[in-house]
Symmetry: C2
Subunit: 219 residues, 2 copies
């Protein structure tokens, strides 16, 4: 399970944990400015008692260009716009994360990779779309022992892919996801900024689901 | 260009360099026991005056299981066997390398990724096969801006894919690849061991092409 520490991966972990006795989590520190989310990932991994939680550091910040890995750039605050990929997009991030999860899964004979990707209320990142995930699943089959030796193939599961953010809140509520342990804000300050795309999507999801977000500022 | 420092990636770099004025090289230190090959990669990058040579360290050794990243395990010495994937296979390595190259390429607006993969005289790694590379190219298209904004798509080129090792030696000879700067031996000692799969494939290629390998021990 790829665990970022956000509300989607927290809910995805709750789903995976309900379905499987043995779940391992992989969190990648890639130079994201909201390294605060790593703490959230650790808290969620503890809460859900995953069998193993790996935190892997890879210095992507110098390799890729994104406002999410470069503190000199400003973060967009106007909210996601349909058909536009915002500057917070990290080139090939999900391909890299899934590739690392694939290496881990194959090495430990795990046959499913869970990812909290969502293609409805999302920032328009190309690597969150169903067709991308299907294409990666093919890579996973052809690029591993499964493609040659007939071992069980490794599947990529994104149970939240077609949920709205409000659906995710409702599913999470049913599964009693500890929202206070999750983290979404791209700024990664002491409190959520409330205006970055990630904060806006989160707030809308909670509002539409009629649920109070424990992280939200008191008004 | 993914540059490992071996004879295939050295030849591939010579090909890319002849075709393109602007070539950047990416070498990944993933915990391979033959870290000696990183020195070879640096020497080749200098020789071919690549525009930029990135050396990225990612601690894969704890994540994946392979005799190539675990010094406590022994390396096979009997030569590659058809239809068998040897213990030196590093789960998902090429998926991970290509994913990192994809992030770099997209960030720097480069539209081709070169990889020295070979599916003829090779160790039977699943992630060196043509169908895997085609599948990854699809991931590259769907998982990047190209899949949404109509930017030029990023292609994956493996010009040595269907060459025998002897073909590679012949091509390299024509391009004057400095074989003495390359490194193949999995053991990564002071001199090539001569018996690991990588040494055996290299030796056979040079022998069949009738070329002397400057790295070979004097008899």
């Amino acid at each position: 399970m790829l665990l970022s520490g956000g509300m989607d991966s927290g809910t995805c972990l709750a789903i995976a944990r309900r379905r499987h006795a043995r779940v391992a989590a992989l969190t990648v520190v890639y130079g994201q400015r909201h390294a605060r989310e790593i703490r959230a990932a650790r808290a969620l991994a503890r809460h859900y008692r995953v069998r193993e939680h790996r935190v892997l550091s890879i210095p992507l910040a110098g390799l890729v260009r994104s406002s999410l890995t470069d503190r000199r750039r400003s973060l967009p605050t106007g909210g996601p716009r349909p058909g536009r990929i915002p500057s917070t997009y990290v080139p090939a991030r999900n391909t890299i994360l899934l590739a690392l999860a694939l290496g881990y899964a194959e090495s430990h004979r795990l046959d499913r990779i869970y990812i909290g990707a969502n293609a409805i209320d999302y920032s328009g990142y190309p690597d969150c779309r169903p067709e991308f995930l299907r294409a990666f699943e093919r890579v996973a089959r052809l690029g591993t022992r499964a493609g040659v030796e007939g071992r069980p193939r490794i599947r990529v599961l994104a149970p939240l892919l077609r949920d709205s953010k409000a659906d995710i809140v409702r599913r999470g509520e049913r599964l009693r996801v500890p929202w206070q342990l999750t983290w979404s804000c791209y700024r990664g300050g002491r409190r959520p900024c409330g205006v970055c795309d990630s904060c806006r999507l989160r707030a809308r999801g909670f509002r539409q689901a009629g649920v109070r977000d424990p992280l939200e500022r008191k008004r």
